[in-house]
Each structure stands twice: as structure tokens, then as C-alpha cells.
Amino acid sequence: MATVSVRNVWKEYGAQVVLENLRLEIADHEFVTIIGASGCGKTTFLKMLLGMEQPSRGQILIDGQPIRPEPDPDRGVVFQRYSSFPHLTVLENVMLGLELKWARFAGRLFGGARRAARASALAMLESVGLAHSRDRYPAQLSGGMQQRMSIAQAVICRPKILLLDEPFGALDPGVTADMHQLILKLWAENRMTIFMVSHDIQESFALGTRLLTFDKVRHDPQAPEAYGARVTYDMRLARKTSETRTVGATA
């Protein structure tokens, strides 16, 4: 279960208003896609959901509880880059979340617990199609494979909410279509609510069950920073499964 309530949230940096008065109720197991021009606060919104940044005013609730003001395992994340650990192999990257959870002091597992973690990490790698690369380091993988690994790494911790910050922005179009199938599959298999920031309108329609566009409505030419972005469109879309042909794949 993960419903998200965004209650009158403002984000300001000094005199610069980035987001004004966001009000949203997101149902459980929704796939929210967010688009908008650059600099309109999409990533800031995601950072607030993640706990990296706090709202200047208002509050964000998950399942009725105020979110913790720092990142925690309830909220998984995949960034466009740098979200894997270069010193760990693919398998170790995916195992890390389990090791951190089960070994609070040592930070790593041994013996039977390690074998169990290894087995679930391998199953996860199998399902994202990376089992054959398990002993390679992230630097040896292509961009698409790195993102598969990052997604596996986040999903294995079973977060209530998965935050994706332009995760496929740097990938080739063919690879992106595969990634769409993968993320829809994982979304269907794991009951999580997904927020995905994207700059690709087709992608946002293809994946989302709810599409938000962020834009500045008011604009003062004398003081361009005076007004922030709001949600200008809030569309409910049909639910997709990984079998549905995505728009990206047909285009």
C-alpha cells in the first residue's frame, strides 16, 4: 500500500519560487509520469518525494504519514546516472540492499544468509535479463544494462514508492522500448507506486496511468522568478501491462 498526498506544497529558494501550491492525491499502485519544460520543478518535486529536499510550505504524506525528511528504504530511486556503485559487481550491487537490511553492523552477510541474498539477487537479475553479466563491474556495462541493474537494485528492496528521474533519457530508442517493457513488468509484479520524470511525451503516455504536466502559469517579465510552476494537466490514462504495445515501440 502506498498512497501519496501532496498538500499545498510550495518550494522556494529565497525569492525564487520553483513550485507553487501543489495539491495531489495519488492512489496506490499508480504509475505517475511527470513531464514539463526543463527548470519547471519536476526534479525538485521528485527530490521532495525522496526526502532530499523539504517543502518550504505544505506537507507530503505517504499512507497518511508525513514523509521522513531524509531518504529511506520506503522510497527507491533510479537516477539518470551514477546510481550504481562502481566498486561492486552487478551481483554485489543488487545484493547490497539485502545485505544492508540484514546486517546492520557488519554491512555484509556471510554463510547461509549470504547464500539466500545471493539467490534472490540472482533471481532478480534473471528477471531483468542481466544474469549473464553478474560478475562484471558497472563501468563494463552499456547504458541500458546499467539502468537495468539500477532498477533491479532498487526493486529488490521492495520499496512502496519507486522514483525514476529520467531513467531512460540517455538510452538509444531501441533500448528504451525494452526498458519500458521491463518497468511495466516489474510494476505489475511488485505492488509499488511509481513516479517517473520524463522529457519524452510519448513515453509518458505509454507508461503512465496518470500523467502530470508541470508548467508556469503566471509569468511576470519584470520578475521571472516571482512565480513557480503548477500542475497544468492531470490526466488519467488506461492501465498498461507489459504485453500492451507501447507507443514508443510502434512509432
Partner: protein, 271 residues
């Protein structure tokens, strides 16, 4: 004809090019030495290779008549003990400081200005203080090296921690990592290869401070011996000692490079 920037030597010619300057220097020395000795057979400035070899043999394989020790190895062992202990202490201190400063904002606020200031103290200027406070024995010599290199290594490593992408630290937290676990699984493992780089770079200063400390107050050690025989213009002792120190430094550097390449394969640049 390709541009100079695009002409790469082969393996063999690269090796030959690398050896060439050494050979040239050696030949120049032998030549100059012969010229001076032809003028004055008692010249001490550029002893002949044969004289150097004889002296070196006496120091490295004969017992000293007065002390009964084989001086060369006694000196080597004394110096290596000092520099080894100092490097180990410096590395440990620097890692602790760098992780604290790099990871915990409160510790950074507390320690960063202090560390920057300490790093600015010219170590040799406080050598007398060390001798007065810690005595003339081993402690003060090791302390000089540690004070000389640990702050710089610590500052360098703290910067490296800061260079870790913020996304990694955030990601670790979303995987449930506590501060301790972030240090243990994310920061420390990525800092080891950088520690090796920093130690390699500070090796030169470490030898400098060792020899300075030994020159001023010591009864054995490579630096002590060089400064002792300086009084007699004994270039036939000084030269092999300098070559030996250089060789030790080169070997230590090589060992650290090998350690980095084998233990931290992920950190090696892609070939």
C-alpha cells in the same frame, strides 16, 4: 608523415627510450670522473666506479671495526622502520579524518578549518618542538613525518569523498543504509585506491622529512650516514646511499601501484 602527437613508440623502442637517459647519465659520470682523476688521483668529488664499489662492499658486507655492525644494513633497517611506522600511522589517521570530514557535516564543521591550518605549518619549523617535547629518540622522527604528510593526505582524501556522486549516497540511503553502513560499504571501499595514490604522492615528502630528522639527531639511519660522512667529502659513500634510497622509493612506489592494480581492479582505467 603523421603528427608527432600521433606517433607512438612500440614496446621495444619505448623501453629503449626509457633506458637511454640513464645510460647517458652514467656515461657522462664515468667520463667526468676519469677526467678529474687523471688531473688529480686524490680527487674526492667524483670517485671512480671501482672506488664506489669497494666502499659499498665495505659498508654492506664487512663489519664496522668500531661498532661491529654492518653499517649499511643497520642504517637501512633503522630508516625503513621509521618511515614504515610513519606511513602506517599517517594512512590510518588520514583515513579516519577524511571519512569523518567527508561524510559527517558536523565533523566537517569541527575539524576542517583545524586541518587546513595544521597542513600549513611548515613541519621542519616545529622539528625543534618535537625534539624538545618527544625527546631525540624514534618518536620525534616518526612524528615529524606524520605531521608532514598526514594532514595533506587527509585533505586530499576528504576532497575525494566529496567527489563521490551525491546520487550514490542518496541511493545507498534508499537501500536502507545507516551512516555507518554508508561509510563501510560505499565510502571506504572507494577510498582505498585513492589512499594508495595519495600515499604514492606523499612518499617523496616522507623521505625528505625522514632524512631531515636523521640528519639532525640520530645515531644510525641512511640520512644520518650521508650527513656524517659529508664532513669527509666521502662521495663514494654518499652516492651509493642516495642511489639506494632512490631504489627503495621506486620499489615502494611500484609495490603500491601493483597493489592498486590487483586489489582494486574496478578502479583501473579501461584499456
Amino acid at each position: 608523415m603523421r603528427r608527432l602527437i600521433n606517433q607512438h613508440p612500440g614496446r621495444g623502442s619505448a623501453l629503449a627510450l626509457g633506458v637511454l637517459p640513464f645510460v647517458v647519465l652514467l656515461v657522462l659520470y664515468v667520463f667526468a670522473s676519469q677526467m678529474r682523476l687523471a688531473d688529480n688521483p686524490d680527487d674526492k668529488l667524483l670517485p671512480s666506479p671501482a672506488t664506489i664499489a669497494t666502499t659499498f662492499h665495505n659498508y654492506a658486507f664487512e663489519e664496522d671495526r668500531r661498532s661491529g655492525n654492518v653499517l649499511f644494513w643497520v642504517d637501512t633497517w633503522a630508516s625503513l622502520k621509521r618511515i614504515g611506522a610513519a606511513l602506517a600511522i599517517s594512512a590510518t589517521l588520514a583515513m579516519l579524518l577524511a571519512v569523518g570530514i567527508g561524510v559527517v557535516p558536523r565533523l566537517r564543521a569541527l575539524l576542517s578549518p583545524l586541518l587546513s591550518t595544521i597542513a600549513m605549518i611548515p613541519p621542519l619549523a616545529i622539528l625543534p618542538v618535537l625534539f624538545i617535547v618527544l625527546g631525540l629518540e624514534e618518536t620525534s622522527k616518526i612524528a615529524l613525518i606524520v605531521i608532514g604528510i598526514a594532514p595533506c593526505v587527509a585533505r586530499d582524501l576528504a576532497l575525494r569523498v566529496g567527489e563521490l556522486p551525491k546520487e550514490q549516497i542518496i541511493k545507498a540511503q534508499t537501500l536502507g543504509a545507516s551512516t555507518w553502513q554508508v561509510i563501510l560499504r560505499v565510502v571506504l571501499p572507494q577510498l582505498w585506491p585513492r589512499l594508495i595514490d595519495a600515499m604514492r604522492l606523499s612518499m617523496g615528502s616522507a623521505w625528505l622529512f625522514l632524512i631531515a630528522a636523521e640528519a639532525i639527531a640520530s645515531t644510525e639511519g641512511l640520512g644520518y650516514r650521508i650527513f656524517l660522512v659529508r664532513r669527509y667529502l666521502a662521495m663514494d659513500v654518499i652516492l651509493p646511499y642516495v642511489i639506494w634510497i632512490t631504489l627503495l622509493a621506486v620499489l615502494a612506489d611500484l609495490a603500491l601501484r601493483l597493489l592498486r592494480a590487483t586489489a582494486f581492479r574496478w578502479a583501473e582505467p579501461e584499456r
